[in-house]
Symmetry: C2
Subunit: 213 residues, 2 copies
Amino acid sequence: MAEGLRERKKRQVRQRISDMATALFLEHGFEAVTIAAVAEVADVSVNTVYNYFPAKEDLLFDREEEVVERASRLVRERGEGVSAVRAVLDRMRRDVAERNPYAGMDPGYARFLRIIQESPTLMARVLRMQGRMVDRLAATLREETGAAPEDPTPEFIAHQVIGMQNAVDRSIGRCHTAGSTPEETSAEVLRQIDVMESLLSDGVLNYAVKNTP
Amino acid sequence: MAEGLRERKKRQVRQRISDMATALFLEHGFEAVTIAAVAEVADVSVNTVYNYFPAKEDLLFDREEEVVERASRLVRERGEGVSAVRAVLDRMRRDVAERNPYAGMDPGYARFLRIIQESPTLMARVLRMQGRMVDRLAATLREETGAAPEDPTPEFIAHQVIGMQNAVDRSIGRCHTAGSTPEETSAEVLRQIDVMESLLSDGVLNYAVKNTP
DNA sequence: CTTAAATTTTGCAATGACCCCAAAATTTAA
DNA sequence: TTAAATTTTGGGGTCATTGCAAAATTTAAG
């Protein structure tokens, strides 16, 4: 599968821009770094930056689709006899237990969070992503259960699930900034997941159980 | 209580700017109307608009604080023996049953929603408000229950409550655009509130019951 | 009523994100 | 080797948002 030079270069340039930008943001903060500065460091024109990244925030939030899709995907790929909520919860527990950096279980993540929280623009983007996650998950739940369009259940459950992810994310951030060790963080967060699960009704916990085909 | 001329004029100018802006937005959409246009129609300078409204979105979302505070306030003012969730649910039902325009139970609200949905900027603001509502409500729940800072319960429950408000809001919008009568809308939404309530666990429904002093 | 202090409005000039277009530079394919 | 396709770039806007200082207005004091 000969991959043309053009494709390769594009990927490289894109990566270089993204990397340089992230480094600059982590060092000076998001608002303090202009697109022009990113372009200069990456040695391309401002327009080229925009060719690859539709908005400044995309320089930091690459992979947005992946993140937004995740909960939905976990549900779609859940095993037989597994409910939607359980599919997500199980994975959350596993990620936390295994210190999966993707799930934020990495002390360096704290700095990342700080940059985001200091920038209204980035906060707005995070919220938009959360909104999209809810929408995406709700749509999947509708497909999987065949719920009617007026049935508010899928959306409501999606809210609960994303709300849990959200709460976990915050806890992780809090632990990091509090200087907890990975072990402490992991244990603490697992405990919190238990608490939240105990607050879910059976109706939610057993929603959209995948039945044997 | 002599209220100086200055104060009165300020209020009038502010109101005029806000009114003119809202009218323009409803007619042409949010992005299509520049601040300069608002200033011109309101017969003030661009800087004066900024004197009163820190950002363009504030021209449409006046009263943001009131909206953000609402759920928190309902909880704080709940009666004895009433839980946090029930306080909010009861009021939601009442608003919908009474066709409270504040709660969006007004066909003209549909146009408003459309303007918002068509503008990324406004959508971002809405999401930010939702985030603030969750934070605000979670803080109140903490105060009311004395929950520990690491206890994720308040935040999680706040998410559920705001999620319900959210779902209800969407349903109302959907009914409006579907051309439902106020009666139909009201009945439909009340049914949905029932469905959502049935998905709440007892732990959530009975969280933060106000005990007799 | 006059004046000085306080406050508001305004004009002017920047900054920076983002968009559009057409001319170069580069890569691919014939 | 050349023509077609694609990328990069330069240049020129629009618009939100900010900072600053002059000008207009309101208030309070004399």
